[in-house]
Symmetry: C2
Subunit: 269 residues, 2 copies
């Protein structure tokens, strides 16, 4: 019989370890049922009371990598998106979100200045498809267990009202979770929320996977040091690595570059 372990979640809450959740996230990452179960078997003996979710994910990820490297990279999506905050001036998340919408068939424009009824607004991202135009506010968080509270949807909605004649709607995208209040209000005023705890078609992970847009931070071979160099060259997602191979070979020694390209190719399969 498996022992009961109490874990500490990202927000500091305590909860019983739930193997179903871990299995689900492994399978969401593309691991086959039998592989997910093998990972779980490896994880169990390493659990202890008071272990954090982050630590569990780290262990599971390491075990998954040993068994099945490409799905391990996908599994790491949540942490990889958090690492986008290590980019210059914090704009990397906006660029990443823009890529997702592009791959979903939208025209996108970053850092738009738009004149409203009362003031001029700076819009993180503007997206357009089939004659419908939306303003997108991006909220990146670098820590797990963080919530986007009611103030964000409130101010984005007020901004939308001030720009009413220019946009058909407004969207808030975050790699964190939305509070209940935030979700209830947004649903009431018709604001679209995309985040980590939103339903399937508005789930950031689902959209990233659907649009096949993985940030370069999912790759094991990319550490913080090379991250900045790559962001500087506007290399944000894995497909950029493959499209801009020459730059990779200019930035790094052949062996390192080979390793990066190889890992990128494996993930794209």
């Amino acid at each position: 019989m498996k022992k009961i372990v109490y874990i500490v979640k990202g927000n500091g809450d305590k909860a019983e370890f739930d193997e179903k959740k871990l299995l689900k996230s492994l399978k969401n990452a593309g691991a086959e049922e039998n592989i997910a179960l093998r990972v779980l078997d490896k994880v169990y003996p390493q659990l202890y009371d008071g272990i954090t979710t982050k630590k569990i994910y780290k262990i599971a990820f390491k075990e998954l990598r040993n068994i099945d490297n490409p799905s391990a990279s996908r599994y790491q999506l949540k942490w990889a998106i958090m690492r986008l905050g290590h980019g210059l001036e914090g704009f990397t998340f906006e660029k990443y979100v823009s890529r997702i919408f592009e791959n979903l068939g939208y025209n996108t424009r970053l850092n738009v200045v738009a004149k409203g009824k009362n003031i001029t607004h700076e819009i993180d991202l503007e997206i357009e498809k089939d004659g419908q135009r939306y303003l997108v506010e991006c909220k990146h968080r670098s820590k797990p267990g963080v919530w986007i509270h009611i103030q964000v949807p409130l101010y984005v909605y007020a901004r939308f009202l001030d720009l009413n004649d220019k946009y058909n709607g407004a969207i808030v995208v975050t790699n964190a979770r939305f509070s209940k209040q935030a979700i209830a209000y947004a649903s009431g005023v018709g604001l679209r929320l995309i985040g980590w705890n939103t339903k399937k078609q508005d789930n950031l992970k689902y959209l990233a996977e659907k649009s096949l847009v993985y940030p370069i931070t999912v790759l094991k071979s990319i550490d913080d040091k090379c991250l900045k160099k790559l962001f500087n060259e506007e290399i944000i997602v894995v497909s950029d690595l493959l499209e801009k191979k020459q730059i990779i070979y200019k930035l790094f020694k052949k062996q390192k570059a080979d390793k990066i390209i190889d890992e990128a190719l494996k993930l794209k399969k």
Copy 2:
């Protein structure tokens, strides 16, 4: 001839030292012209390139205290309001703002829960006078040189819209300064802003002085240690000290209590 000194402002900007500004703030604190000039004479030899505004105020305040103690306390209002953040759970500023409005003839209620069209809102402060009711959002900042940006008036206005049938207007009160965007937007949608860089009748300092509400942190005899004890007893403003003398004598030794009461009495004159 007086030398030219370059100072560093709260926000990090550099500027030439302007004696007019210092004189004005001394006079605003109630110092007579001749006393303000005497303070300035004492301050000048202590200035040096790269001195911060905060340091200048500290020197000026010390000199003013030597010459004229009660106006020194009033002069310190800005720093005293910043120190309100040392209170428990940060609610002290809300309580302080509530006192100002009370003294201006409003009925006030702190921490109101109000049902809006889409969600239930938590309102910092609700004020009422002559059948007009306003929701008040309080934004306390513990550092100098901080700005309240456009997001705050945007979300307060959206909150007001959601509660439209319950309030006649909304007010944002801060001990910081509002950005230009924030001021332009608020004026466009009819939101009232009260802060450190707003015009006379909406200036926090003006309103504090007009309503004769000084936070206990203006008193020299009150250090951080006794601050918490007093806040715990809901003693926030100087007049509380005089109305709740028994509590002061219970909390502190006779000598310390005497000192506090004496300083409070001098200020009230």
